[in-house]
Symmetry: D2
Subunit: 355 residues, 4 copies
């Protein structure tokens, strides 16, 4: 192995949650990285296999407390931060101060909003690391690739937002859909809710049923507003309703749009096809076909389809991804690849697991 192929030293902060486990799953097979640190405060001292038994056959660092990390001595190339809201800002600020050469991909929502006022409005307080908030690059790789390449801190997008943004941003940029009449009806698997033990996430509560939640006030809306408005060059507010599906992984967004200035559903399809022609992780289906979440499960792919509505001028767009992979940890690894100069698809080539 040549010098340039020396393995990058990587940390996963918050390794006992689902996005943490997904990062470890992907990084274990990434040929250019070495997992140097795994933190999980409540489980510090335990083996990763005690928390996620699927890792029993692999050699991994023992879980430690994030407080015990000596960032300067660790010489990390990059840290993935999968910590809860609030904690994140403090930990990232501390890390970049003590180890300025360490890059960070943050999987929380803490650095996704670039407007301090918007942040304060949605989160109820001023940002605790406003300089970093300003510096952070929004990590929707296909849209912000060049900025990510140069970034020290990348704010990995939310799962719902990645799913809807990949479908809509090219159309809004092209002014091909009416920004005032967009409905995003989103459906997510249960891992999107995280691993915290809450009654409403018990198997017996959520299997054999379906429901909407967070109606009218879901924090992912603020991200959608920011990115859709940037893409359209004007304020865009969409109707967005998330639902929970009794499955582990996957998000499907069904998006209802009206074409602008005579843009037909076929035109919208052509725009998306062109936008993603060279993208390894976005696949646009043939016209009229809509995607299924199961066909991207465990992969870093997003499948997007466009169909004509029976109402003239309207189209129905489907966008599907795995919320833990392209919707979280897969995109985080994709961003790491861009930030560290690795081939963008490295470690992310696994084919979807279906059935």
């Amino acid at each position: 192995m040549s010098a340039i192929e020396k393995k990058a030293k990587i940390a996963v902060l918050g390794a006992s949650g689902y996005t943490g486990a997904e990062l470890v799953r992907l990084l274990l097979r990434h040929p250019r990285v070495e997992i140097a640190l795994l933190t999980a405060d409540r489980r510090a001292g335990k083996a990763m296999a005690e928390v996620f038994p699927q890792f029993a056959p692999y050699a991994l660092p023992v879980l430690s407390a994030v407080e015990d990390a000596d960032w300067a001595k660790l010489h990390l190339d990059l840290a993935f931060c999968a910590l809860p809201h609030g904690t994140t800002q403090r930990v990232v600020a501390d890390l970049v101060e003590r180890a300025p050469a360490t890059k960070v991909v943050d999987l929380s929502a803490d650095f996704r909003l670039s407007d301090p006022a918007a942040y304060a409005r949605w989160y109820g307080h001023e940002h605790w690391a406003p300089e970093l908030q300003k510096e952070a690059v929004y990590g929707l790789t296909e849209i912000y690739r060049s900025q990510i390449k140069a970034a020290r801190l990348v704010a990995n997008p939310g799962c719902y937002t990645t799913c809807a943004e990949l479908a809509l941003i090219p159309l809004l940029k092209a002014k091909a859909v009416d920004p005032d009449e967009i409905v995003v009806d989103a459906k997510s698997g249960m891992t999107g809710a995280g691993r915290a033990a809450r009654e409403e996430m018990l198997f017996a509560e959520v299997s054999e049923g379906f429901h909407a939640y967070g109606v009218g006030h879901h924090r992912h809306m603020s991200e959608l507003d920011q990115e859709f408005s940037r893409a359209a060059g004007r304020e865009v507010i969409v109707s967005f309703t998330p639902h929970l599906v009794p499955m582990n992984r996957g998000i499907l967004s069904t998006i209802y749009v009206r074409g602008l200035k005579g843009a037909s559903p076929q035109d919208l399809h052509a725009l998306l096809l062109k936008a993603y022609a060279k993208e390894p992780f976005v696949h646009v289906l043939s016209f009229q076909a809509l995607p299924q979440t199961r066909h991207v499960r465990g992969s870093n792919m997003t499948f997007i389809g466009v169909a004509a509505d029976r109402i003239a001028g309207r189209a129905i767009i489907g966008s599907a991804l795995d919320n833990l992979t392209k919707g979280a940890s897969g995109q985080a690894v994709q961003n790491m690849n861009v930030m560290l100069g690795f081939p963008e698809t490295m470690g992310l080539e696994q084919v979807a697991l279906f059935p």
Copy 2:
């Protein structure tokens, strides 16, 4: 038992499908009926318990072929017809000719459209029993109760359509929502697809995933068009996309509307609350709460909720029912009760099975 309490003689034609089994489940506990005939052509000669083992403890007629039924001699009070498209028209025409006193509740789509032209457009051929098509009453009980009372032939509505119509008809009648901007995003459990052995309905194909189907061309649209246009007094065409949820029972429709002439979400809620105040099988949740399918499972209830969208003037309506009960066999029994003069809730009082 007094004369007036003599049990009504009932047939279930097509007893080997899911709606047939659901009819038998409900009728077995209905105090005023006797199951006199069960047909299932491919299973003729078998016990019902061979086809649905849950009925093993109960005495039921052996399955027979519908061709072998001597309608005149059977003296049925009412027949539920749960046969496939096409077969239905021939069987019902034959039955009402030979046994004019026997009433019929048809669970297929064959008699739901009253306009011959609409029927021909959606089904690709002229109706084969046009006189009966004219006679049939649309069996959305809460809306057409008085006509159902007098009907000989009731066309039981579809599951998707019952769910969306109960939520929207009162609002369209009141001209409270914009008929040109309605999106119905519907999600159904797998029993809605019936019991026919098709690859795409295998467990391994549909579990752990989610997808839309029939985009832009689902036959239930024709029913929605008919009923929404009747309610609004003008042509109404809605965006409607059905999806499949990995669960057995339940439909949730998430409906996006814009209030007309200043109707706020609260106004819409109040309208629904008033419309269903005395209805035993429609329950309107408190404002801002949206329903879950699991809370109506196995019951004949429809739960409807209204929440404000964050976009001023727009509301999100949720409507949930069990597709086999209120969406099919439960409503069929409800219609039977109305047609035979029984209390409307008789045999339908079971509480939802959750968890």
Copy 3:
């Protein structure tokens, strides 16, 4: 309504758990009872519909704290006690002291073991209400019906134990199977684990997978030991391994036995058929057929089947019930019916919900 039909006043202590909700589901449709009290300490002051939204259409008492119950003034005919281990003994002791005329069906494990030494061995402490422990009758209705009729306190059996005991007790009594070579491989739906928020019961932890738990040391074993030994007239200890199935309801026990003194599998089948010929809630399938949990879902039925193993002299017995109904609340209502002199099947006639 005649005097004899005056409704019995009933309490459900611990109404916010799954067995509590199942009791309410059944009692709401029982023609001879009135739900007079619902307790749920952590939810005291809330409506039952806030805790279980399926009850929104029904009139029910507000949830209260068990400490606030004035047993003497309530004049309850019977209280169902669905409280956690420990709490139970104190509450029941207090209740029967203050309201000696109130009967109790306890759904916890606290009064199931009649031997004080066995209790102390399995639970790690002396029983806190030893007189009541002595008095309590084990509530396996089909086996102890006459004692239950006269009982003030009935200890409702566990779900796993009801399932295995109904299948094996008649065979052990008849000395038809070798007591030293019985394997009970049991599989349960998730509601058996209760409603407490624990990480290992989250949807994402338990769906799409299968595992054994409590291997070698599950408390239900003590009940099996007691009842099997009573039935056999000698000490019987069986191999018992419980597993969790990603479904809400249902237990299937697959039981491996060797016939004694030439008892063939057909002989075992004949014994069970005879034992349960007149039982409304136990159905023995035809020889060689084994039961499925889905065919008893939501009903109070137990389905039992016997098949010949290919090893001469050995048989495989399947026993299936709904853990919340016959395995808990259904049997509790069945016991109530026996204790209060109602027809044993009253309120329990609902047919299984399949699909």
Copy 4:
């Protein structure tokens, strides 16, 4: 790429079934193979992505009919045969006659039994390719590695049998468990039933329930008999009951054994630990821990655990694998690696997908 790294030309016969799709998933990421031929008779002419949409982003041969394959011209290095029973024998015989240099891994049951009499007894007819039957090597890689290395035709074991055999063969070889008292209670996900459209495999039939099937007469028994008898050096017949779990992937076998000559559960654990110490795809858990299917999902791992039963001298062994990976296509690729001289783990390193 050096000469030795020229990619091997591989065919998948029967690519439209689940084991076919799993082979393609694995082979697409195998660095040393090229998928040269995909057959699927009923789907001939279609793109693989029409049959399995997850493959849409990848370049793959169009599906063809197996009859149209010109084996001599194809110069295949190896063909995976995932065809139905019967067809298999004819196709493999034809293939090896026309292309003697092409190796074959057959995933059907057709070549698993080496005894012609046993074959005829279980399948009701003489083998149609008796010379090949004699030549075929049983492909349980960990046990028959050296024979597989030299084989032209490998009979890949069944999923249930791989799971039970890996757990029991080392113990039977060591004469550590009583061969006359083994119970194998096996539970499988639904993909084990294949992709054929059958009513009993519909989602609505198999979700929310659990049942045994094939009791007393499952064809996998013949394989167990052969391998257990070989291992023990005497005839061994075990009790074996398969069950269906409402999940896609995974088999868990719960195995009840009695130690021989004083072998304790700890001794059994030690034997297995030693037997698999160097095996990359068999992981023995720590004593008393039993495995879960979800922790091997999508991986080629088998997890085995041993726990003491509370009955002295008896142990409970759990063995878990993914029926499509180590239970079928993963082991087939593992065998291909051995047969073609590749590193045994090549293309099989993916970590289990949990949650």
